[in-house]
């Protein structure tokens, strides 16, 4: 599968932004019970600039290569983006970030971090 490229494996083994943000404005947890994937996301809103821009983003959790790589890429991409923009992101955004599509059997793994972020954002808004 195209998804298991070296870059994805690297992100799985040494994820980006895998840390806790102590003074986060939003934290939210999500899980795929069937797989045993769990993520917790931390978002810090940038109050200095225009309201509702994501200043810092991070995650903690355990899961498969797809969900962990996805969480890495997403938290990286989020920084500096307006909240209402993030709420519009969908599957296609994720495929662009990953550089490949994900098939039906694994789509839930790829979606978990984004769904968790969006739920955190709407819950907090």
């Amino acid at each position: 599968m195209d998804i298991y490229r070296d870059t994805i494996i690297e992100l799985y083994k040494t994820p980006l932004n895998k840390r806790r943000i102590e003074e986060a404005d939003i934290t939210h947890s999500g899980a795929n019970v069937t797989c045993g994937d769990r993520v917790r996301i931390y978002l810090k809103l940038d109050k200095a600039g225009s309201e509702g821009v994501i200043g810092d983003a991070s995650f903690e959790g355990e899961g498969c290569a797809i969900s962990i790589a996805m969480a890495s890429l997403l938290t990286e991409e989020l920084k500096g983006v307006r909240v209402d923009e993030v709420l519009k992101w969908d599957q296609e955004t994720l495929f662009d970030l990953l550089g490949t599509e994900v098939g039906a059997t694994r789509i839930k793994c790829a979606l978990l971090p984004l769904e968790t972020i969006q739920k955190g954002l709407t819950g907090a808004a």
Partner: protein, 408 residues
């Protein structure tokens, strides 16, 4: 390899494997592939006598009824039940267990009665009892297992009380393959007047089984794990219990007389089979039983034992591979659960899929067991009569490739 003589060579009997010769199917614990004889029996019914049963006064219906009831008789012989009145067709193991909970459980149990389950059990032997417990206020207790997934049956005396009314547990663990020894447990349960239900979904298809020797009160299994169609399963129960139990579903076939103000029930086993039953599925199950009976269940077990021994040895040679379960072919059926260090089970399964190797990854419908073992998921391989040592060699090659991709 000493055990080589035990190995069967049956791939040719399975059309799916004939059509997909490069497929390595290692997920029989989930559902088993169908032998040609089963597909033909179902096709024969639909093509030449697809009438309803127990009603039509014409030849086709008579033939369908004979085939449907003939399948029941095959089940009876296969599991060595005393009477075909004790064989109820359901839609599967899940339905069989729910039937016991809804009928026997609701009518016989009271508030504060206790049911003992095991931590190895499939959700389908946990959730029906939780629903019942919520409904009537009875209590659930669990027999624990050790780190190798073996039940701590020595704890049983502590768990049993005069309130214990039922012990319900799996014969073979679908997640780890552990074969539970149930004779003493059944004796202890009966000594205090409790009943025993055995979830035999993973044992009936893989080893000789005799309900009279087991002396269980209820036993449930699914046709599809034995190479039969989906949508058919069996509940065996002792006749004296079935006589006392009220029906759960009402409708056609399960009644003797219906009046506007009351009805009376049909004889056993039909009292529990409301509506048009899964006729083709039962006939298909009968054909599956013929197929397995002809091989002989001791030979099936010997074949899967030999494969398990071979696979356990090969898997243990891979660095970073941890086996969950007894890791001893004498103590487990043809099911092996494992993890690979540095690779999530879902990634293992996806990458093996690329090599046309079908395995399962996840919690295997055993979330309490995964919690107990403190792991989120495992990869699981499980064998059937059609597997070979070559399949296991392909698995090992596949796993080495996974390790290479993940650089572990």
């Amino acid at each position: 390899m000493a055990a080589a003589t035990a190995l069967l060579n049956l791939k040719k009997d399975f059309p799916l494997l004939v059509n997909e010769p490069t497929l390595v199917y290692l997920d029989s614990a989930s559902t088993a592939l169908k032998p040609r004889a089963v597909i033909e029996a179902v096709e024969e019914y639909y093509t030449n006598y697809s009438a309803n049963v127990h009603r039509g006064l014409y030849d086709l219906s008579e033939r369908a009824t004979a085939a449907y009831e003939g399948a029941r008789e095959k089940v009876r012989t296969f599991i060595h039940a005393g009477s075909s009145r004790e064989i109820i067709f359901t839609s599967g193991t899940t339905a069989s267990i729910n039937l016991v909970a809804l009928s026997w459980g609701r009518s016989m149990l009271k508030r504060d009665d206790e049911i003992i389950l095991s931590i190895l059990d499939h959700h389908s032997n946990i959730v029906p009892w939780q629903l019942l417990a919520k409904d009537i206020g009875c209590k659930l207790k669990f027999i624990d297992c050790d780190s190798k997934g073996r039940l701590k049956l020595d704890q049983l005396s502590k768990l049993l009380s005069r309130r214990t009314k039922l012990i319900a547990l799996s014969h073979v663990s679908n997640a780890l393959g552990t074969i539970n020894q149930l004779t003493t447990l059944t004796q202890k349960a009966h000594a205090i007047g409790a009943k025993v239900l055995i979830d035999a979904a993973q044992s009936v298809p893989h080893m000789p089984l005799n309900v009279e020797h087991l002396n269980c009160d209820f036993l449930a299994f699914s046709g599809h794990k034995l190479g039969g169609p989906t949508g058919i399963g069996v509940l065996y129960a002792k006749e004296e219990l079935l006589k006392q139990m009220p029906p759960v579903f009402g409708g056609g076939d399960m009644i003797r007389e219906v009046h506007t103000d009351h009805s009376s029930w049909n004889d056993l086993p039909w009292k529990f089979e409301a509506g048009t039953p899964p006729i083709a599925q039962a006939i298909g199950l009968g054909a599956a039983i013929d197929y397995y009976a002809k091989i002989g269940m001791s030979k099936v077990r010997a074949h899967e034992h030999a494969l398990t021994e071979y696979a356990l040895k090969k898997l243990a040679e891979l660095p970073g591979l941890t086996i969950y379960g007894p890791a001893d072919a004498a103590e487990q059926s043809g099911v092996i659960s494992f993890t690979l260090e540095g690779v999530h089970p879902h990634d293992i399964s996806s990458l093996l899929n690329e090599e046309k190797i079908a395995i399962r990854a996840g919690h295997h419908c055993c979330m309490p067991l995964m919690d107990r073992l403190k792991i989120p998921a495992t990869a699981r391989v499980s064998f059937g009569v059609y597997n070979s040592t070559e399949d296991i060699d392909r698995l090992i090659e596949g796993l080495k490739k996974v390790q290479k991709i993940f650089k572990v």
